[in-house]
Amino acid sequence: MIKKEMIAMLLAGGQGSRLGVLTSKVAKPAVSFGGKYRIIDFPLSNCINSGVDTVGVLTQYQPLRLNTHIGIGIPWDLDRNIGGVTVLPPYEKMENTDWYTGTANAIYQNIDYIDSFNPEYVLILSGDHIYKMDYEVMLDFHKQNKAECTIAVMPVPMEEAKRFGIMITDENRKITDFEEKPANPRSNLASMGIYIFNWSTLREALIKEETLPNLDFGKHIIPYIHEKGLPMYAYEFNGYWKDVGTLNSYWEANMELIDIVPEFNLYEEYWKIYTRSETLPPQYYAPGSVIERSIVGEGSEIYGKVYNSVIGCGVTIGKDTVIKDSIVMNNTQIGDNCELVKTIVAENVTIGNNDRFGFGDSAENETDPHIYNHDLVCIGEKSVIPDGITVGKNACIFGITTPEDYENGSLPSGKTMNKAGDMR
């Protein structure tokens, strides 16, 4: 008989629309992070480092890159005979065939998967946070308190508390009440979207609430369990935790990695972050290249100058090109004599020679000011930029572009150019 004490369900179906063009072709958990990683590497590595060897990954939006990345789970040692990693897309049923309509609905549609492991506890994770956490310690806390549900929380500054789901607890961290994005928060303990449930309790709640539209943990399941008066506890986490939900927070989190001793340290031995390495060779630095305050992934060739930047794997940076405060993802080729400032370049982009990004007076983005802001320039995957182009701030380019697309060889600040079709 198969029996696992705790299995993890990782919600990786979301689009992450506030990452703009970065998630137009890939699900947010598959977006590159920190040079060689993808966001989902963090929860997956946390799982295996915590001894959780059975993980169901719920996918829905643009799953190709995610599926390829996960494969059979070799990089995380999640290739197991029993358990391991399983990708769980929505599937057709006799009746009620549906997409995953909400976080809890996705779990509801996979009750059979969870049942097959006969677990005591189920750990619910989301695939879009950067953090290192020992779920085993959280489970100990859950068991000690004889809780039915434990929610990981972190203290946030009081003035920011209104952006989060807030837990109100007694002195033993027992949850007495909770509020979603309260105007006047009564506590500063923000939910991190990480839950441990006793499976029997969660299973019952899912089945009772199945008919609700967009069944969600925060909106439906937690209130249901609370109303039943079952013990819920808040597990306080004080480490580094970053929601990389917006372009700016994504950029900031990357930039934090290049501090001398970053708060989030990838160089620690005891809690390694694993990823699928597509390239292995070392990086090459040509004579005349400059590299300072930066991290660089495998197989990249640097002929130009790189300052304060995060460079992925297999990237080429041409001669006399200057890159500052930027993120360049895997396999992007940048020509000679370019200048990039605060630019996020997605994977497999080709940039010509003599191009400039992030120059000119700042202007609000015309189409999506809530996405493209903070003077960041964003270039979508597989884009092609011809020679001699100047691109302003808060601008976005996606697709194969030719010189004719640029008036006077420039794309002013705040403009969006989409030649690739569907895009946010």
Binding site: K36, L280, P282, Y284, E292, I295, E301
Partner: protein, 372 residues
């Protein structure tokens, strides 16, 4: 593929000097992220050889660690796989491998229990890319008994540590000399052979009966007139790394764009064990020029014309010139290193000075490790 693979990784070379203390030549780190044996293993995998045996004996810890899982070279299959054979005590035999032929003899069951008609034998200490299928096709076309991969060395290069070959116009080998004092030819054997499995078993058994133990001397040279032994000449990059000088030069070759392009960017890839290290990091004060740097490294100083292997820490105000820093070395501040190979896991104290005056110096430092 109709062949199984054998990789001879038993050897030690005194020409590797202190570098051989820690490991077999096959486990020598190469080009920042690889081990020498990765090239033979990747070539076999890329040639669709599914069953490979590695014969090892000398200081095999490092090699065994590297080969702890076969999945990196895609040998983790139900059909075939990667086998590592060290000498074992049996009812008949309690000896070490007394030579390459003896190593094969002691593991003859591996050959006998296979069904593939051919065997590709390769050494673990060469840097090259090769499609063994092409050699096999040539072998069949020539109706050869044994095919030896060979290569012309540049005029004037010292070939006395290789086996030298003379071929007739048909490419049949007429003369084969092992480590000649005065070489009669500048065509050398690359240590890669294709042979029919049954013939190999037969010849190895006969060797054993006659108390002969060396594949080159007791099979190739002894039978060169009786058997049809052919040379398959290659022109691509190939380098043996079994001396300190060649090891150093082979690494430095990877600073050339055409070599990197050939090995790293052209199909097929070379595989290696994945180490899960974070990207290399460059702090303020880092100056890197014409160098390779591998993941997990943190650079605070100056690096020129050098190869920095994985997980190296280079302190502030250090200068590393024309050197190779092997895996997991900690170099404290204000250190100067030129023309050196720094042995892996070393810890170099602050304000040290190492310069290879006459050739390459091997730096062996086991200082106390400071916390990073």
């Amino acid at each position: 593929m109709r062949a199984i693979g054998i990789i001879l990784a038993g050897g030690n070379s005194h020409k590797m000097k202190e570098l051989a203390r820690k490991r077999a030549v096959g486990a020598m780190p190469i080009a920042g992220s690889y081990r020498a044996i990765d090239f033979a293993l990747s070539n076999m995998s890329n040639s669709h050889i599914q069953k490979v045996a590695v014969f090892t004996q000398y200081n095999a810890r490092s090699l065994n660690e590297h080969l702890s899982s076969s999945k990196w070279w895609d040998f983790g299959r139900k059909q075939g796989g990667l086998f590592v054979f060290t000498p074992a005590v049996t009812a008949e035999n309690s000896l070490w491998f007394r030579g390459t032929a003896d190593a094969i003899y002691q593991n003859l069951d591996f050959l006998k229990s296979s069904h593939e008609p051919y065997v590709v034998i390769a050494s673990s200490d060469c840097i090259y890319k090769m499609d063994f299928n092409k050699v096999l096709e040539y072998h069949i076309e020539k109706k050869a008994d044994i095919t030896v991969v060979c290569r012309d060395m540049p005029e004037g290069e010292n070939v006395e540590r290789y086996g030298t070959i003379k071929m007739n116009e048909e490419c049949r080998i007429e003369d084969f000399e092992e480590k000649p004092i005065v070489a009669k030819s500048n065509t050398i054997s690359c240590g890669i052979y294709v042979i029919r499995r049954r013939l190999l078993i037969e010849m190895i058994e006969r060797c054993a009966e006659e108390d002969r133990y060396d594949f080159v001397r007791d099979v190739l040279i002894r039978y060169k007139d009786q058997k049809r032994i052919f040379g398959y000449k290659i022109k691509d990059y190939w380098k043996n790394i079994a001396t300190v000088e060649d090891y150093f030069n082979a690494n430095m070759d990877f600073l050339k764009p055409e070599v990197r392009n050939y090995f790293f960017r052209q199909y097929p890839d070379i595989y290696s064990k994945v180490d899960d290290l974070p990207p290399a990091k460059f702090n303020v004060g880092a100056h890197v020029s014409n160098s390779l740097v591998s993941s997990g490294s943190i650079i605070n100083g100056t690096v020129e014309n050098s190869i920095i292997f994985r997980k190296t820490f280079i302190g502030t105000n250090c200068t590393i010139k024309n050197s190779i820093i092997l895996n997991d070395v900690y170099i404290a501040d204000n250190t100067y290193i030129e023309n050196c190979i720094v042995e892996s896991h070393g810890t170099i104290k602050a304000n040290s000075y190492h310069k290879g005056e006459n050739g390459i110096e091997i730096v062996f430092e086991d200082g106390e490790r400071y916390q990073m």
